[in-house]
């Protein structure tokens, strides 16, 4: 391993430990790296958007391929900076409205077509386990879906039959959230494993 590589590993280890130091208590070293991280992230976006949007997506097609019509989104994009002025901030709305319009247009149908229909079709078909229809599972899915939707239906007070159904819904929801919690623990622990593995293998490895 070259000296430069060892330096890189030690640098990474120092930053890792500096952040872990927060576990003991908040301290100036943690604050320093925290602010450095915020700045570097912002700088990363600066480099990335300049390169991928201004240069590749706008300037090159405009200047090299003669796609003059890109002046329109370029102008609308530039007007986003009007947000920094009190007087002309409304000009930023033009670009924003365009993005909101296109995104909403795509969302409107993709949500209904991809999510609502897709999930309803999935519920109306019998559930299968290893290719065999499982009616118990099918019943659980149907009851779970209906009671969950009823629990989240707030336009009518949860009383009587509606209240009873919503109560079953909350049990289903709690089981699902429990599963979610279990998975979340797994995810967070995995991230810790990544760092512990780095410190043990790579960093302490340079000292062996």
């Amino acid at each position: 391993m070259s000296g430069w590589e060892i330096f890189q590993i030690w640098l990474m280890a120092f930053l890792t430990l500096a952040i872990f130091s927060f576990l003991y208590r908040d301290n100036p070293l943690f604050k320093f790296v925290e602010h450095m991280y915020a700045g570097l992230s912002t700088g990363y976006y600066l480099g990335l958007y300049y390169d991928t949007v201004i240069k590749q997506r706008l300037w090159m097609p405009l200047s090299e391929q003669g796609e003059w019509w890109l002046i329109v989104p370029g102008l609308l994009g530039f007007l986003m900076f009007a947000r920094l002025s009190t007087r002309y901030s409304w000009l930023a709305r033009l670009g924003l409205a365009f993005v909101m319009g296109t995104t909403s247009g795509v969302y409107l149908l993709s949500e209904l077509h991809g999510n609502v229909l897709g999930q309803m079709v999935g519920t109306m078909s019998p559930q299968r386990v290893q290719g065999m229809v499982n009616w118990w599972l099918t019943a659980i899915v149907v009851v779970g879906l209906i009671t969950t939707l009823i629990y989240f239906y707030f336009s009518k007070e949860h009383r009587g039959v509606l209240g009873g159904t919503a109560r079953v819904g909350i049990w289903f929801i709690m089981v699902s959230f429990g599963a979610h919690f279990g998975y979340t623990v797994m995810g967070r622990v995995s991230l810790l494993i990544g760092r512990v593995y780095f410190l043990w293998n790579d960093w302490i490895g340079t000292m062996r």
Binding site: L48, R57, G114, N115, G118, Q119, H180, Y183, T184, V196
Partner: protein, 282 residues
Amino acid sequence: MNLWQQLDKLDRRWVFLLVWIAAVIPLIVPATFKISISPEGKSLFEAVDRLPDSSTVILTFDIWPNALAETEPMERAALHHLFRKNMYVITVANIPLGGPSVAERVTRELAAQYGKTYGVDYVNLGYKPGYVSVLRGMGTSIEGIFPTDNSGTPLSELPLMQRVKNYEQVDFIFVVADNATVDYWVSIVNAQFRKPVGAGVTAVMAPKQFAYVGSGQLVGLLGGMKGAAEYEKLVGKSGLATTGMGMQSLVHFLLIALIVVGNVGYIVTRQVARTRERKVKA
């Protein structure tokens, strides 16, 4: 103050120390574990395996750097599988911070192992903002959305991209994501362009994706580091995820022990308080 009350007021830094110890022990005393394969992981592997050799696959790097411990092993295992089957791989990132750089590093490293040539066998499209527009727009023209690859080379100069114009020429989409973009690969690309999508996601996101697997909108699913370990086992290339299973096991056991101790303490303390209350009333 009895023992349970003292435990209830325990400084959290002792808990932190226990977590450290549980995470480090498997490194000092390494052990191998049998990794079971979930039906969702198996069906993703089989869907990729069933694709004819030399198919074209989009592999996404919709990942931030923070969850690399979960996602990078998935990307590596997927690339082993794809390159081994001589698939043409197009990588794309819908996350600005991390995805494009990680794709560059990981893909080039594995491509070198399999003797693959950039531009011919694989291409890194990089990142463009607005994933809804990007996913939808790629259905009409990939070049329209990505005029150049991640390094700034025009797509027209890359042989692979001269052939692949939109989703029509793509056979499978292997999404690796640590955020909601996977939902849009399903609701836009799978639903509107009828392309099969399989996903490897972080553990935090996995429970939601079961709904998509159940409806057939995702052909399979890898959930978190365990899911990555499953794919590593299926492709026969063990990596960080497989190694991490020992640490994962021990920390999970510790957490369950902490929950049990916390609850026993809670029940005992509550019982003591109730008895005292009854005595006062009497």
